[in-house]
């Protein structure tokens, strides 16, 4: 890399050389797999060359790398500094203000142009630019004038308030913004996000607190879902009776699967839990007599409101007739929303309380150093098994909820990718941080879901562009990108559970080495 004192000529030539190498590597990477596309024809597989696409991709790599080299990596004054400063308390220099002002102006101009051209994709970019600068400045402004407010608590309180009032705000937002999506969509999305928040919090007990990396968490989710589905369809039991049974069944499986892996450490533990997750899925898939195999189980009942079903007509009273309301399918969905909100809050509450109990402290001690833990007389067998069982319990509860929400389950819902998403939520959120897990769930699942509705992008890239296909690709990139950008997770510090004198924030490096 060039020293700050070198001339522009030298920097340009070294940047050009570096970008050229990157372009050559990109060409080697993509020449066959992107430059040629296999097509299944009547005559067999044929190849369809796509030289333009290849040239564009290699060109993007070359130009992008060149710009980054010139303006960020090798520049005397990296262009990214002012944006990074938005998130610190460092004072702005003249150049920072110029760059930020230029960005805001660019955003404003793009907004005007997009309005003139009626291009929603451009509008999206403009709003993102303006929001980034605006929110960053707002954050700095608030921090400048009120440096000592308990921001984390305010944020959490606001989050809880928002979650509780969400059904009301959803009505309001729909009226104000008129986003063109049915209300039901917003509730379904928020239920999905909350399910992942709950799963993240449940797994956080195992991974974040006890430091046991579990890549097969989805197995407990599946056990909970199938327990409820089988009990409901065979014995006609309702959701509320089955919910604790499903949780306990999952916890039992947590202990059963936890026993053999007691001696394993770190990555070995991860891979064996992954294997267990796959085994359970394969058994569900092939044990047709009980699980109905790949066809799954359908007709799973919805939960009732203290015995009142949400349906237009029933033998006895229904929710709408009891309260004298007109039947609306949304009632049932809003109820589901509050059920999962309550379950998620229960998970969080139990975790927070357990962290203060001896067992919770033993979990965190075991995460930091298992040998030291054993030397101090902590029974690591019990400690590990309780962590597995508690985590699995909440996985099972979430599974039962999933079954009742969907009304239909099949082994396809419980693949490894689900486990990977939940682990990603926990680690990206910042191990052990409850708030971080919630934020990561909203960002990952919400963002993932938002990609479903990118008609703007479609108009940008042409009709052949199917955003749904690129969702998983972007999801994978996001996992890599966030991890490289913030290896400690989004919320990298948290208040210690116990403190001697005053509770100070501890830096993320000291929390949870993840050693198991």
């Amino acid at each position: 890399m060039a020293e700050p004192g070198t001339s522009f000529r030298q920097r340009l030539s070294s940047a050009l050389a570096d970008s050229l190498i990157a372009a050559i590597i990109a060409f080697a990477l993509f020449s066959l797999v992107l430059g040629l596309r296999t097509e299944d024809n009547v005559t067999g597989l044929t190849l369809q060359p796509r030289p333009m696409l290849l040239a564009v991709v290699v060109g993007i790599v070359f130009v992008g790398r060149l710009l980054l080299n010139l303006f960020v990596w090798q520049a005397a004054y990296p262009l990214t500094t002012p944006f990074a400063k938005l998130f610190t308390r460092e004072p702005f220099g003249k150049r920072d203000i110029v760059v930020l002002g230029a960005t805001a102006a660019l955003g404003a101009i793009t907004l005007i142009v997009s309005a003139l051209l009626d291009a929603p994709a451009l509008e999206l970019i403009a709003v993102a630019l303006l929001a980034f600068v605006g929110l960053g400045l707002l954050r700095r402004g608030i921090l400048h004038f009120f440096p000592d407010l308990p921001y984390a608590q305010i944020f959490i309180a606001a989050g809880i308030l928002f979650a509780v009032l969400f059904p009301l705000t959803a009505y309001g937002l729909e009226k104000i913004f008129n986003l063109g999506l049915p209300l039901r969509y917003w509730f379904d999305l928020s239920i999905l996000v909350l399910t992942y928040v709950m799963l993240g919090w449940g797994l956080n007990i195992v991974v974040g607190l006890a430091g046991l990396l579990d890549l097969g968490y989805v197995a407990f989710y599946a056990v909970g879902a199938y327990t409820f589905a089988l009990l409901a369809t065979h014995f006609g039991l309702g959701f509320w009776i089955c919910l604790p049974i499903a949780g306990l069944a999952a916890a039992l499986w947590g202990v059963i699967l936890g026993f053999p892996v007691l001696r394993l450490r770190g990555d070995y533990l991860a891979i064996v839990t992954l294997a267990f997750g796959e085994i359970i899925r394969i058994v569900l898939l092939n044990w047709t007599e009980v699980t109905n195999g790949p066809n799954g189980i359908s007709g799973i009942p919805k939960p009732t409101f203290f015995g009142l079903p949400f349906s237009p007509f029933a033998e006895g009273e229904t929710f709408s007739s009891f309260f004298g309301l007109n039947y609306d399918a949304l009632h049932g969905i809003i109820f589901l929303y509050y059920v999962i909100l309550a379950l998620a809050c229960l998970t969080n509450l139990v975790t927070l309380r357990m962290r203060r109990l001896p067992i919770g402290r033993a979990w965190e001690a075991m995460r930091e150093d298992e040998i030291a833990c054993r030397s101090l007389g902590i029974n690591t067998t019990i400690t590990k098994l309780t962590a597995f069982a508690t985590g699995a319990l909440f996985g099972g509860l979430a599974g039962a909820f999933f079954a009742t929400r969907q009304g239909f389950i099949s082994p396809e819902s419980f693949t490894f990718i689900e486990s990977a998403i939940i682990v990603a939520i926990v680690v990206l959120g910042g191990m052990g941080s409850q708030l971080g897990v919630a934020i990561a769930a909203v960002v990952m699942v919400g963002g993932f879901e938002a990609l479903r509705h990118t008609e703007g992008l479609q108009s940008f890239f042409g009709a052949g562009f199917d955003p749904a296909l690129y969702r998983m690709l972007l999801f994978g990139f996001a996992m890599v990108g966030i991890m490289v950008w913030r290896p400690r997770g989004l919320v990298a510090s948290r208040a210690p559970t116990i403190a001697l004198h005053d509770a100070r924030e501890i830096p993320g490096d000291l929390v949870g080495q993840g050693r198991a």
Partner: protein, 303 residues
């Protein structure tokens, strides 16, 4: 007996493929202590590169099978090596000194990226290879005929040659010494003049090359590939690496053969649906009862 022999041969061929992939896992785990979760998908990418190279050569008029095979092998090894290098550079090197879970997460992310990239870039659905392997049949004593295809012979021979070559590489050359040094103590190796970053990159490159060979052999053997083959095959290859003892190259090979045999015999004598369960249970059993594998060194933790 003939049936048994046939399954033995099938199992050895399958096991050789697992073994080749397992070497990639075992080398990476040995040197930086992480499960390269994306390695199975590197194998899948290698198989796709081999398939496309095959089709391209056929379109260009190279029809002599041995020449085409050789060219495809070289192309697949070189291009897959670039993929392996890139994955390490992008997803693992920035997190070298980070906490232990971070590279595992980026590895899972990379695995998702590779799978979906191939799905997006190539036509959906399974891809069958145009070449049909010829078979040599040896008549058994019973009515059942044991068939050894040329491909199976090719697979086992390739495996033996590559394994010997790698074993020599690790035990005799400067690169192998550098790798073993990094494995034992990365800081001390760096102080003694070993370029640690370069050694780790080369480890990934070598692993990817072997995965490309495995991909080509898989393509020839089964004739059908798909973008999701990397996950299951990768897990089984990792099982093989653990079975043989992580960090040991002959161990990876033996582990691969054993996993291949278990899977084949289970499918032949029990139920084919549960063959993956058999392989995964094997992994759990091995790890629980022989945590260091067959040829691995015991891990000693100093306090």
């Amino acid at each position: 007996m003939a049936y048994f022999l046939q399954q033995l041969i099938n199992g050895l061929a399958l096991g050789s493929i697992y073994g080749l992939i397992a070497i990639g896992y075992t080398m990476v785990y040995g040197i930086i202590g992480m499960i390269n979760f994306a390695h199975g998908d590197i194998f899948m990418v290698g198989a796709f590169i081999a398939l496309i190279a095959f089709l391209a050569l056929t379109a260009l008029g190279v029809t002599a099978i041995p020449l085409a095979l050789l060219l495809v092998l070289i192309l697949a090894m070189v291009l897959t090596a670039v993929w392996g290098w890139t994955v390490e550079r992008v997803a693992y090197r920035p997190l070298r000194d980070s906490f232990r879970l971070a590279p595992l997460i980026t590895a899972i992310g990379m695995s998702i990226v590779l799978q979906n990239f191939i799905q997006v870039a190539q036509a959906r659905g399974s891809h069958s290879s145009p070449s049909s392997p010829a078979a040599t049949s040896c008549s058994g004593r019973a009515s059942f005929t044991v068939i050894v295809s040329n491909i199976q012979i090719l697979i086992v021979v390739t495996m033996l040659v590559l394994m010997t070559a790698f074993w020599l590489l690790i035990s005799r050359t400067a690169l192998g010494r550098a790798q073993r040094a990094c494995e034992q103590d990365r800081l001390m190796a760096a102080l003694s003049g070993v370029n640690v970053d370069r050694t780790i990159s080369l480890t990934f490159v070598l692993g990817a090359m072997l995965a490309a060979v495995a991909g080509l052999l898989y393509l020839l053997y089964y004739g059908v590939i798909d973008f999701f083959i990397g996950f299951i095959v990768g897990i089984k290859a990792f099982t093989a690496a653990v079975f043989g003892g992580i960090g040991s190259i002959p161990g990876a090979m033996i582990g691969g053969l054993i996993i291949g045999l278990i899977e084949t015999f289970w499918s032949a004598y029990f139920t084919i649906e549960y063959k993956d369960v058999a392989a995964f249970s094997m992994l759990a059993i091995v790890l629980i009862f022989f945590p260091t594998g067959l040829l691995g060194r015991p891990e000693v933790e100093k306090v």
